[in-house]
């Protein structure tokens, strides 16, 4: 009985994700890139909504992995494949695992899992919708003067810029990461019991 429910849920999820692609590609006459973009954008928004609204926080973390994966696909469509690879390595490989570990360390079974939202959840939802509408209006009303065609960035070109003009920020970021790792270990370390 349970297995049928899971199969049904998987079928519904697949339909939700493929429908925009089919709509754009077949009915809208878009290109393959358009179909991919529509499908990945739908997957990303749905899983982001799941991250902020599901009750079980482990499932929130898993939905976050799906969201990051869809975002990596959007980076590929946008023409930045190295950023997509870094997204998979850094976010899915490192940050998601870190967050899942922290979830497992901090969730006590006695905790009230039903009380997920603060009391200000409804005003927060209104504020978020207003923010989204404002950003959308601002984006569509602005005339981006220098917009050209979408270009695919070659990795060698990116490497030339990164290790030539941006080499000092690159080194500073590496020092920042080292400091953050040491600080994280120091903060999370269990303090010794005073004798």
């Amino acid at each position: 009985m349970r297995a049928w429910l899971y199969l049904l849920a998987a079928a519904v999820a697949g339909a939700v994700i493929t429908t925009p692609a089919v709509l754009v590609y077949v009915l809208g006459g878009g290109t393959v890139d358009d179909a991919l973009f529509a499908s990945l954008a739908t997957l990303m928004l749905v899983s982001a909504l799941a991250v902020v609204s599901m009750r079980d926080i482990i499932r929130c973390g898993l939905a976050m992995i799906v969201c990051f994966l869809a975002l990596a696909g959007i980076y590929v469509v946008a023409g930045a494949p190295l950023v997509a690879a870094a997204q998979v390595i850094v976010y899915i490989g490192a940050i998601s695992v870190l967050i899942l570990f922290a979830i497992m360390l901090t969730q006590s079974k006695a905790g009230p899992s039903s009380l997920v939202f603060q009391t200000q959840a409804v005003p927060a939802a209104v504020a978020a919708v207003v923010l989204a509408v404002l950003i959308g209006l601002g984006v569509t009303a602005t005339d981006w003067h220098e917009v050209g065609e979408r270009v695919r960035l070659a990795t060698s070109e990116l490497a030339n810029v990164l290790f030539d003009r941006y080499v000092l920020p690159f080194e500073i970021v590496s020092v920042l990461l080292l400091a953050a790792v040491i600080g994280g270990v120091f903060i999370a370390k269990r303090e010794e019991e005073p004798d």
């Binding site: 991250v51 902020v52 870094a86 997920v116 989204a132 950003i135 990164l162």
Partner: protein, 103 residues
Amino acid sequence: MANSLDAYLILAGALFAIGTFGFLARRNAISMLMSIELMLNAVNLAIVAFGSFIPDLKADGSVIALMVMAVAAAEATVGLAIVIAIYRNRKTPLVDEYDAMRR
């Protein structure tokens, strides 16, 4: 659709708004950190979109996006360490019970 800057920016705005809602509405500290990650990713998407559509920013957009990722990793490390340290003292992950400085 995939060839217009507006589509990417509106998508980034929607993701940022979802992250804002999660940050304001969730009670669990780790949920709030996850919402912050969503907002950082939305900004990253906007940066990458600008980089790939504006010829002058061609490589700079990707470089800045990579830097943002590194800073986000540092933020996640320190933030989760703080959450774990607080959890060890207060035995709860819910932020509205962290009221030691209000009483």
